[in-house]
Symmetry: C2
Subunit: 448 residues, 2 copies
């Protein structure tokens, strides 16, 4: 039966029937048999099978293997041909097929690698793009609760590879489950003869390897800690994330938000490293999408062509009215998008903010309305002054409310509020501004 | 003569002749005489005089005073009536009149105060708004080079007020001049019987209390350190700045840049804390300034009123052409402003970027030109299609270059490039877009 199994699994692997392997009921087989099967397979087949095993089976097999076999399996996991195999799966297939590797395997894997290989390994571990798993480093020192402080300090002295990550010492149990996170200073300040347990408070802040990296930024900002432990779904300590990486992430995230503000799909690399083709591709989509919003504006003008031809002076004020509306809308949406991003305002407070911004919009609108009414009067007399002034008031008020509310509506719909970019707001307020303008103009001029 | 001096100085103080006192030649007087004079004055007079003394004289006097007199002077420095006196000077007068307090005085002052008073004290010390001096905390532990490691650790145990700032230990000489910055882990890893000097490398990164707080962000990001010592102009250790404060600063600075992007003068408080009046005042200035740019657009239309009246269909495409130009300009300027803010691009590279962006602008322009030519053709025939398509190409190219170059020009002129806000770029590209549109239209339609 062992031969039969081997035959069957080998065939499935050769035919790249990943899904079949995934759905295999492994409870029929003994762990030693599966381990033996693994050892008989070729390098890349071994890795694929190991990655396709259910999490508990993989953990059992891993602890069953000899130390050397473990290490060779781990090395195979980062071997080039395996990498090729794994990378050639469609990303969604990869996520669907593979379970999270058992924490102990991940940990050993990270510790086994050269720092240069770390980046690629984190990718292979299957943590999503922009997740905490991609940021973490395995450079931590862990101690056990029953050790004496002096023993712990001696252990820290021995294990210290890198003093930068020595500031926080982790306390784990035998299976590497995190029990506490303590600062090095606690050890220095404690009585050397006490046990580690006496200084433990069993309270720590941690991240999951699957958390979005923005969670790391917010958590670090909230708790003012400069290193956060990263755990797998079973609470096993995988690594840590330090403030310097998190500061870089915060800057990158801010840059992405800036790009979104101007309707640019965030660049994957820095501006200087981005090719002309990449820059064009990140911008053209939004530019074309916004053409269709602008066409609505053109449509409104087309409807009122006759009015414009009769009272051509109305055309003169189009750039002033639309420009000002767009500016007020961009101001309001940027204030809101940033306030939401920094958790300064909460989506639940929309009504309060709505009322505040009606006041702001009215005051801005009155100021701007008076100024434009003067220009309108000088250029075209009382009626034109009245039309331009009233339109400006209404446009500023409406643009302000669109700018404030759109980010809230997007958040409510589960869309990143930064999509309410300045160009989108400007294009939307253009349409609305023209409708208001012609409505007011035809009313005052008596339905031309 | 001592009486005479006292009389003279007292009179100057009573008449608030601060400048006279400042210009006094103190070399004629003996330090003990000036110290005695200080002690004879009233509280607030004493403080004013002390703050007006030249830095070396103040330092001499301070070290001459008895411990109790020192402390009472320091307490007076933060006393309410003195605060009133100091605060009532015009800020520019304050900066012009007062020299930096001697480092040792500053240090003692910071250490003497309750944490709640610290914020105000940092203000009174005269460090400018948004300077590192306003951020620093005096919670550090310093050791001397000749101490043994074990002695140093014992000292750290005794002095530890706050474990968060214990990760970095500073080595100073007797006058508190900073000699080195060492991590606590270095002490833990060192041989307890060696001296501190054996683990020193005499290299450290530090900030000046007068540095802009953005310098703290950049320095911390560059060197990946989580605490930076703050020195006065003589190299005396005043305090330290930790990563958590710096992360908050980085977020605030990003928020300010976001606000500038949308032509909002950065708010001093969070959005929720800002009053309607404050929000209006931060927005109305730019809105009005931009009206005058928009009026140029209106002027261009006024010049070509006749053309528009004859070929009214040209009006229909104004929102499409100006909107798209504004969008492309906003994209380009935001990419540039952010790349400059994060030091991704250097102003010296402008030519390389200019050439790159001509390519980007051309490609975007060709895409957008073809799309708009189709709309133009459908709406108004071949000639209109040609006019709209060519205008779109030219407008996108020109807007892109304005958006890229304006931040560089502003930087060159010493102005924050973030002033090249989306609204400013949009308003500028409107004017340019209309000029291009009418130039192309009149040429193709044969000088209407």
């Amino acid at each position: 039966m062992k031969e039969e199994l081997k035959e069957h699994i080998s065939n499935l692997i050769k035919q790249e029937q990943w899904n079949e392997i995934r759905q295999q009921d492994w409870s029929d087989f003994l762990i030693p048999d599966v381990a033996a099967l693994l050892n008989d397979l070729s390098k890349s087949e071994r890795v694929m099978l190991f990655r396709l095993l259910p999490r508990p089976v993989a953990a059992d097999i891993f602890s069953y293997l000899e130390k050397e076999d473990r290490n060779s399996l781990l090395k195979d996991l980062t071997n080039e041909e395996t990498r090729y195999l794994l990378n050639n799966l469609r990303p969604d297939d990869r996520t669907a097929l593979f379970e999270e590797l058992p924490g102990q395997v991940t940990q050993r894997l990270l510790n086994l690698l050269d720092p240069e290989d770390l980046k690629e390994a984190r990718l292979l571990l299957g943590y999503p793009r922009e997740s905490v798993g991609r940021l973490m480093t395995p450079d931590y020192v862990a101690v056990r609760p029953h050790w004496r402080i002096q023993e712990a300090i001696n252990h820290i002295r021995l294990k210290a590879r890198n003093s930068e990550t020595l500031h926080t010492i982790y306390v784990t149990d035998r299976s590497w489950k995190l029990l506490d996170s303590l600062e090095l200073s606690h050890f220095v300040l404690a009585n050397p003869d006490d046990t580690v347990e006496t200084i433990m408070d069993y309270s720590f802040i941690s991240l999951s390897a699957f958390d979005d990296r923005e969670v790391a930024v917010k958590t670090m900002q909230k708790y003012d800690v400069f290193a956060l432990p990263v755990l797998d779904s079973g609470g096993i300590l995988l690594g840590l994330v330090t403030f310097d990486d998190v500061m870089d992430v915060a800057e990158e995230e801010a840059t992405e938000d800036f790009h979104r503000t101007a309707a640019v799909t965030p660049l994957k690399t820095s501006y200087l490293e981005s090719s002309v083709k990449e820059l064009v591709s990140k911008r053209i989509g939004w530019l074309i999408a916004l053409v269709f919003v602008s066409l609505l504006s053109s449509g409104v003008i087309a409807i009122y062509e006759q009015t414009l031809q009769t009272v051509i002076v109305l055309t003169v004020f189009i750039p002033l009215l639309l420009g000002s509306g767009g500016n007020a809308g961009a101001q309001a949406s940027t204030l809101m998008v940033r306030a939401i991003a920094t958790s300064d305002v909460n989506i639940k407070e929309w009504l309060k903010i709505f009322i505040k911004e009606i006041m702001v919009g009215l005051l801005l609108g009155i100021c701007m309305g008076i100024i434009s009414a003067v220009f309108g009067y000088v250029r075209g007399g009382v009626q034109i002054g009245l039309i331009v002034g009233l339109t400006m008031l209404a446009v500023i008020l409406a643009a302000n409310l669109i700018g404030v509310m759109l980010p809230f509506i997007l958040t409510k719909l589960g869309i990143d509020p930064a999509v309410a970019s300045n160009p989108l707001i400007t294009s939307m307020t253009d349409v609305m501004g023209l409708i208001i303008y012609f409505a007011i103009a035809t009313t005052i001029l008596g339905g031309l």
